[in-house]
Amino acid sequence: MMRILVVEDEAEMASLIMDRLQRSGFDADHVATIGDAQRAIDTGAYSLALLDRRLPDGDGVALIPHIKRSHPGVRVMMLTALDTVPDKVAGLDAGADDYLTKPFDIDEFLARIRANLRRSGDGAGSVPPVTVGALSFDLTAREVFVSGRPVVLHRRELALLESLVRRVGRATPRDTLIDEVYGGEGEIQSNALDALVSRLRKHLNECEAGVMIHPIRGIGYMLAKATA
């Protein structure tokens, strides 16, 4: 399993992030200073570092070159309230792989962590499955379970569900869905995606997955837990 290092000096924020990561199945450790972060990184146990910028012993950005030099496989995601373009440029220039500003949406936060872990150098590790309602999607093995029982889906339905699951709780643009489901297939019929969504929806309902695929006109679709 891939480990995440959380570098955050705000104790409350740190405990909330840690709690959320652990509940989502990630292994994570927390440090509050650049010095501690440096020592933790040097143990070589981490695949992803979440870096705050304003830390008691300096700017988190200062840590990035050290990480990238000694452990090039570790992904770095800035997590900070500094949101101006120059701030972001400074972070990305220093070698950060991603930049998320506070306050952030928790679903987006988790999705970005998954995306970063997927791209991390030692891709061998596994990402915890994403659970929505009774549905559980193992992104590494591309397997679907409902209440622990495996569910078999048609190839395209699986691709669509994966696409939606990666952005669970957020709207996925139509173009992105078409790209990820029909990628490279040339022209597709305009209502093909909608028909596919209907089929997947029916399938998920039948096996009582406890999820909803909401249409959002002018945007695309959104997967969310079904409301009671």
Binding site: E10, I216, G218
Partner: protein, 454 residues
Amino acid sequence: MKKFSLSARLVGHLLVGQLLVYLVVWMVNIPLSLTGVRADLDMIENDFAENRVRDEVSASLRRGPDGLAYIDPIPSLRERARKNPHLKFAVFDLNHISPLPGSSPDLVELIEKMGEIKPFSMNFQLESEKAPDLRGALTKQDTPVGRLLIVTYGYKFQWDDPLYYFRDNVRDNFLYFIPVAAAAAAIAWFAARRGLAPLRDAAAHAAQIDMDSIDQRIPLKGIPTETLPLVEAINAALARLDAGAARQRRFAANAAHELRTPVAILRTRIDALADSSQKTDLKRDVRRIQNIVEQLLVAARLGEHGGPADERIDVAKTIRAMVADYAPLVIENNRTIEFECDAPSVFVKGNRRSLECVVANLIDNALRAEPVGGAVHVRVTPEVTISVLDHGEGVPEHAREMIFEPFWRASEASSGTGLGLAIVKELVDLHKGQIRVESTPGGGATFKIILPPA
């Protein structure tokens, strides 16, 4: 406040001053004359009476039925002659040849005796009278019967004679005084207008300065030194206001920035709660707080830089992403949100963050107004308009202007500080756009922003 014109006041003061100087000079001349200090002004007290007597003689001239002029003393002259046996008067035509009937024979004889000398103006004494304090005068004068020579003698001082003397003096001197005074007044008027012109320019400059250009100062070039302290004081006041405004903006920006971390903590904490309708409400509320914080930050930063950055923004893309971003919150609140835009891209110039704030605020409001099960519509057209439609109670006609005023609230009971729409308007104004609220067909409010296309 009572207004006054500096030019008018200057001219007024100048005219009054000149008049006073004239009076003083005239009054100073009297003692100079009476004491004989000035040789050319040989006057005694009785000389003051001459003007009056001469006037009475002039008023006594008549023309008979034969067309010939004669003296018919008016009652006051008659009375004067009765009281003063020395008084004599005579009137001649300009050739001295023919005295008018009624002239004193003594005077006629005396003048005729002068022979070769034809006086047209003189003062004299009569040796024969043995009265050194009595004098006579010969003066050319326009009378009711034409221009004639009037000779008077033996007039005596009365207390009010100087008034007549003064009246004649004024009449003669004002011919010179009026053009001189008028010229002085015109020069003063012109000088004042010219001198004040730089102040008018300064005022025009000051009128241009508002909160967005408070870093500007009134140029001191050409300002007269007399008014320099005023202009410098105004500039100093502007500098203090500028510094104060900058301090306030920094404070707002810092405060907004400091609020982000607690809002982030709050948001994450709410996310961690078990699902419930309360959680949904809390998520919506915290999103609103976050938007207001962002707005304050954006407004403060824009104020700092004087205007929106000239970024080229695809509003279709930006707003589509925002609608997508809002969708989860809207759906959790049992409403839906729809995005409509026929064009793939719609470009405007401005600041992306501030436009996002504007639209976020409108979506927040629409979400609160939209009834359960309804759909908030967000529409972008290439013209460029951005509309956010809800199907709530709408905004009554009379309130449609006021809702953009800071701290306006529909009623004491309604929620919100009313700051949101004021900031929205300010941000739209900075983009040289317009915002208005209309009715959604079928009921509800439509907020429409019109922006100049890039």
